[in-house]
């Protein structure tokens, strides 16, 4: 039974049993909303445990292992502890905005799940502008963090919020340019169409570069290491959430953990064929399992990255975005679209990915993959040259310093 059938069936049932038609429709919509939102809300409970356990293992610690089997009940213990915490609102804070910020932060992440299709037949709604909706809703989170920093009336919080505006806003540009590639290939912004268009070949094979740009930018969008200077414990204490305590503080963290997982699922949908996998058409459960598996693997790599790389300075982050990622994502879009158009005109590329089989897409795949590999080779050349220059410079600096030191010693 699909979501659509469920809602209309429920609506019909209520009307037949004598309920008002408008009310019945509202109630069936509400059931749909609760079912769809239930998925992220239930996953976030497990995510908090996964996050802590993985971080602990990478840092050679044991992690939560006391409450329940392998510490699985830890989240509930944390929840109980947070319930008993005093909730302090600084007297100088802007109360209304201060209280609204954690709500908006969490809501913006949950709202992304409206357009996430779980299986070919189970999804909230399949909006025709799904990809654009995702971009619009995800940027609400930026607003929430800015609000939190501003309303706290604390200098650390405000500095953190300033950095958010610079960082999150900048990395949205390469994110959207990378998102344009799957939209262009599928010829649709609907998430369902984008996944179905990958029945011939996953988009990650067609353009690994677009995936890499999307991956890096979404790591920055969630404010994770190496882009975690929003929080920067060592210099800003905690950044934007410094004045928050108790459950409101917890909501910011739940939102962040959920956002990372949501991005993993989105990348699985946009680039890794979503629920496509052996036997996915047999049962919605298998399809759902494939999507979950792919999303979880991508999510775990982001956790790995987060726990192994050091933090960058803000000037390095901004230079990396505007002078590397943005030009790269534009070049990627231009080259791929030109190549695809030429191949379409020559008749070796399908004009409609939705109905294209593996054999139809094969020539396109080879050409696009080659273009991407050439770009990567060229980029590595540039990076190598830059690295050599930087090393030579720092070597010269160190030589001068050593000379000065030995001169002072005489």
């Amino acid at each position: 039974m699909t979501m659509d059938e469920l809602c209309t069936g429920l609506c019909k049932l209520m009307v037949e049993s004598g309920a008002d038609a408008g009310l019945a429709q509202f109630m069936s919509l509400l059931v749909g909303v609760l079912l769809v939102s239930g998925v992220p809300l239930l996953t976030v409970i497990i995510l908090i445990w996964v996050e802590r356990k993985v971080a602990a293992r990478i840092q050679d610690r044991i992690g939560p292992n006391r409450v329940g089997p392998i510490g699985l009940m830890q989240t509930f213990a944390d929840l109980l502890k947070l319930l008993g915490k005093e909730d302090i609102t600084p007297t100088s804070a802007d109360r209304a905005l201060y209280n609204a910020a954690p709500l908006v932060s969490f809501a913006s992440v949950v709202l992304i799940w409206v357009v996430v299709p779980f299986t070919p037949f189970h999804f909230g709604v399949d909006l025709e502008i799904g990809a654009l909706y995702f971009v619009a809703v995800a940027s609400l989170g930026t607003l929430a963090i800015m609000t939190a920093g501003w309303a706290s009336n604390n200098k650390y919080a405000l500095l953190g919020a300033f950095r958010v505006v610079a960082l999150l806003v900048s990395y949205e540009v390469p994110l959207v340019f990378a998102l344009l590639v799957p939209v262009m290939l599928a010829g649709s912004m609907s998430m369902l169409d984008i996944v179905n268009a990958q029945s011939g070949m996953w988009f990650v094979v067609l353009s690994p570069l677009a995936f890499a740009i999307f991956y890096i930018s979404s790591q920055a969008e969630t404010g994770r290491a190496p882009f975690d200077l929003i929080e920067a414990e060592s210099e800003l204490v905690a950044g934007f959430n410094i004045e928050y305590s108790g459950m409101k503080f917890g909501m910011f963290f739940a939102a962040e953990f959920l956002h990372v997982f949501t991005n993993g699922i989105l990348m699985a949908l946009l680039f890794f064929g979503g629920w496509m996998g052996p036997l996915y058409y047999e049962s919605p459960l298998i399809a759902f399992a494939w999507l979950g598996l792919k999303g979880t693997i991508i999510y775990l790599t982001t956790l790995w990255l987060r726990n192994t790389v050091p933090r960058l300075r803000i000037d390095q982050i901004m230079a990396f975005n505007w002078k590397f990622l943005v030009p790269l994502s534009i070049a990627n879009l231009i080259l791929l679209s030109a190549a695809l158009k030429i191949m379409q005109e020559l008749g070796i590329a399908p004009r409609d990915m939705l109905s294209a089989s593996f054999v139809d897409v094969l020539p396109t795949t080879i050409v696009m993959l080659l273009i991407n590999l050439v770009m990567v080779a060229y980029l590595l050349g540039i990076l190598r040259k830059r690295g050599q220059e930087a090393r030579r410079e720092s070597g010269a600096n160190q030589g001068a310093l050593a000379q000065a030191a030995s001169g002072a010693g005489d």
């Binding site: 809602c7 209309t8 509202f26 919509l29 509400l30 909303v33 939102s37 809300l41 929840l79 947070l82 008993g84 915490k85 005093e86 909730d87 302090i88 600084p90 007297t91 100088s92 709500l103 932060s105 969490f106 809501a107 949950v110 709202l111 409206v114 909230g124 709604v125 399949d126 909006l127 654009l132 909706y133 009336n153 604390n154 405000l158 505006v165 806003v169 949205e172 540009v173 959207v176 344009l180 939209v183 010829g187 912004m189 204490v237 004045e243 108790g246 459950m247 409101k248 909501m251 939102a255 000037d315 901004m318 230079a319 505007w322 002078k323 943005v326 879009l333 679209s337 379409q344 004009r351």
Partner: protein, 120 residues
């Protein structure tokens, strides 16, 4: 579901979404201890009193990044329809999109050469 119903679903979801985080906060509000004092609810700054106004003017560099982002963000919204219609585009429409992206890139390089992208 028809189009109106789709957006009714999104609208209802948008109304419900803040309720989910609000619920635990309200429950915590019912159970939490309340012992406020002047020091506890003062602004946190490593034990010393804050000096001056917090809501100060911010660096102009943030503003410049904001402006560059705004240009790109607005132009990217126009690129989405182009990408959706890509498969049916004739040569004219295709080249028009290219010129549009070229203008974008041109603006980026102008900002780059003007050192607007350097963190100062």
């Amino acid at each position: 579901m028809n189009v109106l119903n789709e957006w009714a679903f999104v609208g209802l979801f948008a109304l419900m979404a803040p309720v989910f985080p609000a619920l635990p906060i309200v429950i915590a509000w019912l159970f939490r201890p309340r012992k406020p004092n002047v020091l506890k609810s003062s602004t946190y700054e490593c034990g010393v009193e804050t000096i001056g106004d917090t809501w100060v003017q911010f660096r102009v560099q943030y503003y410049i990044y904001g402006l560059i982002f705004l240009i790109f963000d607005v132009e990217m919204v126009f690129l989405f329809p182009w990408a959706v219609a890509y498969n049916e585009l004739n040569l004219f429409g295709f080249v028009a999109g290219f010129l549009f992206i070229f203008l974008l890139t041109d603006a980026l390089f102008y900002a780059w050469k003007k050192n607007a992208l350097d963190w100062k």
